[in-house]
Symmetry: C2
Subunit: 421 residues, 2 copies
């Protein structure tokens, strides 16, 4: 195969991989972007899929659409089964991909920290399939409860435990409370929702530990007002299909435990012979290269990278900025120019709690309430890829906001609720 | 359980069941509507889901949303496992539903007429899951072909055989041809689409046998112009995973055979002890009641009903009109009034072929081309349930029409294309 220049292989079409691919636009590098899905997922809105607020299709975008303007970038739908670093070749099922430079941006997965039963019984919120599976399970739990004459089991089906008081846990707890007290109440007029409960569990002494303390306090007040039971200083030590047990020995009967408490490097990376730390991440040098493997870069959540002795957080902006920067450094290397150092530009963090209620920490400012909520909406709408997705999400949000109604309450595919009766 | 009046059980939330339920609005009948899905499916647009033109969620609508204004109608998400006609009780897994009147509107399924291999290897287009499965398979076939060095296998993966030249077959053939020559061509610039082919097979000597002859001729001309190969007077006698064989002994190598050639009564009905004909339908009297089972009505596709000695067709308008009519007759019976006879008001039939091209047979008029296409768009948009669905479908259609682009090209859930590489 004739290659119009040096060959770059990129593993993963998340934020890191896509931004890296875009960094080679209109160059004569021949780039192959590989992902196991044919779409990019906008993970910051995944919790809204799980809360039946927006459709799964609205937070994903076909990779081939994104790459169309980049004529030197090919897409390959495949799992990377192995990497031959000596021969500089990726192995997938049908195709071998030779490379001169390799950028690995395979992302992260839920970290259960070895809590017994968690990996088997708790729901994750890390992939589109996770979001759809959790949505189907929640809607199905209401349908099952409506048919159940046993009060104890009914209560268990309407109890939802969320583990982890970071942004995802807080956002999902709020969205779920609004789903239950709004649309579900209207859908199930004969079901006693006094039985229903959302419980948010956090190991630290406050919510949103990565944000200023005032914002955590605001989130706590708002969630309590919405009827969410928040348990601080509480760790989970066991999960099964009908209960979650806490460190103090107490248990809550529930068929739904959602785990947002930890993140680790994508486990697939362990098939590739890379050196992993105990969180499944690959330690990289200041240039994002793996020690002993020149030309092999790891970026995004999978990389354990430091700046000024501090670990970079596992968030989308780090991955995007690293993607752009690594692409630029590879181009500079080929042009014989000096390598640039990475500097993370932290634009802040935000989390929405519910209607008119959010928190945002931006450039030293700590916003709460309506201004933070408007900022959250605007930022997420702008960052979402694709005009159609933005439009459809906006329509769904407006519908939800003005009519207190969620249009999206489908159990699809239908097999997900078999055995509901 | 106290019942505020007579109890009506309705099986199936398709057109027949929903229209029957609506017929009891604001009465003191206590109605239970039972379906195995929590949504109603607008089947006339299912082929567009399979052709990646609209999202699956846009043609379905939550049953509980539809029933919300009807305070005397309950919904039950369940499979009907058995019916005790003597005790007048439906059995589902968790709940028994006693009734005074029973309306069975369970619909239809694909009829393979015993052609060997068809049930195992051909794709159906009768449920939402069917549509999504076929879409995923088609998109995945392109991804696989793009990775395949074997020319023969590549051609087989890009060949799509559609069996049945009725409205669904014609509409799907046109939509698939447009998908391939538009968005797929742009998505796979390095794939030789000269290898790709859409073949439409019909046993009769013309397309659209249920419409005026001129319309069938128009459809044939348009489809040929779009590159579709149409084989008339051709029956299928064998299907397997890599080929379809015709009555004359010739075969076409394909991994995708779509079966739109026949419809039978929903097979689940065979568990209920109803007398079925060889097409799995229940013969009913002029009042839609089953002989020997007073108070038990069968309507829609599952019913074999006659009017003036002619069988009623298995189409949505028959089901809707029967639903309304049966509900009215049950109310009249309870009020001691005479039963009304059924009269099918045939509003005509239409089928779209592609951009600016459709056929419509309405009230003696036979329209083709742009006027028929506009009529088709308007009728389907109006009939679709839910303002949000109408809006989203309209946006997708406009996108497709003006930008020659389909926004919807996702292989979801992701497991559907595992083994793609």
């Amino acid at each position: 195969m004739a290659t119009p220049g040096r060959r770059v292989a990129i593993v993963g079409a998340g934020f890191g991989g896509l931004w890296a691919a875009r960094g080679f636009a209109h160059t004569d590098f021949h780039v192959t972007l590989i992902d196991r899905n044919n779409y990019h997922t906008f993970l910051p809105l995944l919790y809204q899929v799980a809360a039946a607020e927006i459709e799964p299709e609205e937070i994903v975008y076909p990779v081939r659409s994104i790459l169309r303007p980049l004529r030197n970038v090919d897409f390959l739908l495949a799992d990377v089964r192995g990497i031959d670093f000596a021969a500089r070749t990726l192995h997938t099922g049908a195709v071998q991909v030779p490379y001169d430079y390799l950028i690995i941006a395979a992302g992260s997965a839920t970290h259960f920290y070895g809590v017994p039963g968690a990996a088997e019984h708790a729901f994750s919120l890390k992939t589109l399939d996770d979001g759809v599976r959790l949505r189907n399970h929640i809607l199905c739990s209401f349908e099952r409860a409506a048919q159940d004459m046993n009060a104890e089991r009914r209560r268990r089906r309407l109890t939802f435990a969320i583990v982890g008081g970071g942004p995802t846990g807080v956002e999902f707890a709020g969205a779920l409370a609004e789903l239950m007290r709004g649309p579900m109440k209207a859908d199930f007029p004969r079901l006693d929702l006094g039985d229903s409960q959302v419980i948010l569990v956090e190991g630290a002494g406050r919510l949103l530990p990565s944000l200023p303390e005032r914002l955590g306090q605001y989130a706590l007040r708002r969630l309590k007002k919405m009827g969410v039971e928040v348990r601080l200083n509480t760790v989970v030590d066991h999960v099964d299909a009908t209960a979650v047990r806490f460190g103090d020995g107490s248990t809550v009967a529930t068929e739904t435990t959602v785990w947002t408490a930890g993140v680790r490097g994508e486990p697939t990376a362990s098939n590739w012979g890379l050196p992993l730390d105990r969180n499944g991440r690959v330690a990289v040098g200041p240039g994002a290269e793996v020690g002993g493997l020149p030309g092999v870069y790891v970026i995004g959540d999978l990389a354990r990278a430091e700046e000024n002795g501090k670990l970079l957080p596992m968030v989308a902006p780090v991955a995007m900025q690293q993607g752009t920067w690594v692409a630029k450094n590879i181009r500079r290397r080929e042009a014989g120019k000096a390598q640039l150092a990475f500097h993370y530009r932290d634009h802040g963090m935000m989390a929405t709690i519910g209607r008119n209620a959010a928190v945002a920490s931006v450039g030293g400012l700590a916003l709460t309430g309506f201004p933070a909520w408007v900022a959250w909406l605007a930022v997420h709408l702008v960052k979402l890829i694709g005009f159609r997705n933005r439009l459809f999400v906006l329509i769904n949000w407006a519908w939800d906001y003005f009519l207190f109604e969620r249009m999206v309450r489908l159990i699809v595919p239908s097999a997900s609720c078999r055995g509901c009766d």
